[in-house]
């Protein structure tokens, strides 16, 4: 078997997003869906319900009232946010392990994924976008390709690193050149296999190439910018570091100034303790 085919074959070894996660995403992507539909999907799964309530009651949301039911959670946090939290509470498995090729210790990829999803959600709320939970989920799962590619990056690290250091390639272009496929493309293949909405597949595929987004699209730029912010503050930056392309025109499309950038960084870090709590709760510790 060709190497690329073998890599793609490994998608089958990942643990797919749960049935409930998929249903919830479907419900929120349909503008006509209702609160009751969402509650009905979740409430029969006791484990999921307990986990979701723990997450809703974490200090990150700072709710004064203790949330005791899914219905209450939707009332206080909204449909979109609860949907995002369902995916958050059921996606950690694939991300928890160390990824040696990217020099990420145990838990670091998950921490990175949750952080960039929270920042993307924050930016999407500021821009008043629809589909916020889909943006959150795409940002959360965008690096799923790294989980498979890590072993190959490790084997070929010297060649990848040389291409980056000596020829100024981005890390992702070097992955593609040396291995034959990059982590974003591989992630998009995973998303397709798991029957994700094409909107999410596009975000995952282009999260390092926002210039490929349609000219009026803001969701890919938002996920891209959230990822760039994480790199700058050192979250999830491993052996690939910050060796990705910066697209000022894409950031400009969001009407995002350098002060906005710094304020987003400061505000995210200001609540890092509650973010860490959310990260730990969501991975089931």
């Amino acid at each position: 078997m060709e190497r690329i085919e073998r890599i793609i074959e490994e998608i089958n070894e990942l643990r797919p997003v749960s049935e409930i996660g998929n249903r919830v995403t479907e419900i929120t992507s349909n503008p006509n869906s209702s609160l009751t539909e969402l509650v009905d999907v979740i409430k029969y799964d006791q484990g999921m319900t307990a986990n979701l309530l723990r997450i809703c009651n974490s200090t990150y949301f700072g709710l004064k009232k203790k949330i005791a039911s899914i219905k209450q959670a939707v009332t206080y946090l909204g449909l979109n946010k609860v949907a995002s939290l369902v995916v958050l509470g059921s996606s950690a498995d694939n991300f928890k392990k160390a990824q040696a090729g990217y020099d990420l210790n145990e838990g670091e990829l998950w921490r990175y994924s949750v952080s960039s999803a929270l920042i993307a959600e924050d930016l999407a709320e500021k821009k008043r976008l629809k589909n916020i939970s889909l943006i959150f989920t795409s940002a959360l799962l965008k690096d799923i390709g790294k989980v498979i590619l890590s072993a190959y990056v490790k084997d070929s690290f010297e060649d990848i690193n040389k291409a980056v250091q000596n020829r100024g390639l981005t890390f992702i272009d070097a992955e593609k050149e040396v291995i034959g496929i990059d982590h974003a493309e591989l992630g998009a293949r995973v998303a397709e296999k798991w029957n994700f909405d094409s909107f999410m597949v596009d975000i995952i595929r282009n999260h390092h190439d926002p210039d490929k987004a349609p000219p009026d699209d803001l969701s890919i730029p938002i996920v891209y910018l959230a990822d760039s912010i994480c790199m700058m503050i050192g979250i999830g930056a491993g052996s690939d570091g910050l060796a990705y392309r910066y697209h000022q025109d894409i950031v400009d499309r969001l009407n995002f100034s350098d002060i906005d950038l710094q304020k987003t960084i400061a505000s995210f870090w200001g609540k890092i303790k509650s973010v860490e709590e959310l990260i730990n709760l969501s991975k089931g510790d």
């Binding site: 100024g168 700058m232 570091g241 000022q248 400061a266």
Partner: protein
């Protein structure tokens, strides 16, 4: 040996001979280590953003988030341990950028520019610098010896030369 972790937007000083100060994940942030070989004491700062005028409330709550409030405090706290300015060894690393990141959005460069201005104004010389590029860095300082190590993403660990 005890590893004392200096988090992001954090600072620690120590004169504990058994301590190693260590800070991870320096992307666009800057790590500043200072050490006095006579007092055998030093400190390590990891700041994220250049100027505290961005958000006075946050700066008051955590002055180590910003260079202009964090750097003076690093020196002040180290002086309390008997550190003298004229004996200081100073290491500055970090300030990385995403490829093609320019102008005002280049936080790594702005972080470094701020430090250069402050050091120039206060007549502080640096003994070792590793700034910019696109890599992620980790900095370690051993209090007993003043030996420091720099780990650069993808390029392993190197000892930083000291007198």
């Amino acid at each position: 040996m005890i590893n004392i972790i200096v988090g992001v937007a954090d600072m620690k000083v120590s004169d504990d001979r058994g301590a190693i100060l260590i800070t991870h994940s320096l992307g666009s942030c800057i790590g500043v280590a200072i050490y006095d070989p006579v007092a055998k004491a030093g400190g390590l700062l990891h700041y994220m953003l250049p100027e505290s005028s961005l958000d006075g409330i946050k700066a008051k709550k955590n002055p180590y988030m910003f260079g202009d409030t964090g750097i003076p405090l690093l020196f002040k706290e180290a002086y309390k341990l008997g550190v003298k300015k004229n004996r200081l060894q100073v290491i500055v690393v970090g300030g990385a950028q995403i490829l093609d990141q320019k102008g005002l959005f280049n936080i790594g460069k702005r972080n470094y520019t701020l430090l250069r201005k402050m050091f120039w104004k206060n007549n502080v010389m640096t003994d070792f610098e590793d700034i910019g590029g696109n890599t992620n860095r980790t900095l370690k300082l051993e209090i007993e010896s003043g030996q420091a190590w720099l780990k650069t993403g993808g390029m392993g660990v190197k000892k930083i030369w000291k007198e």
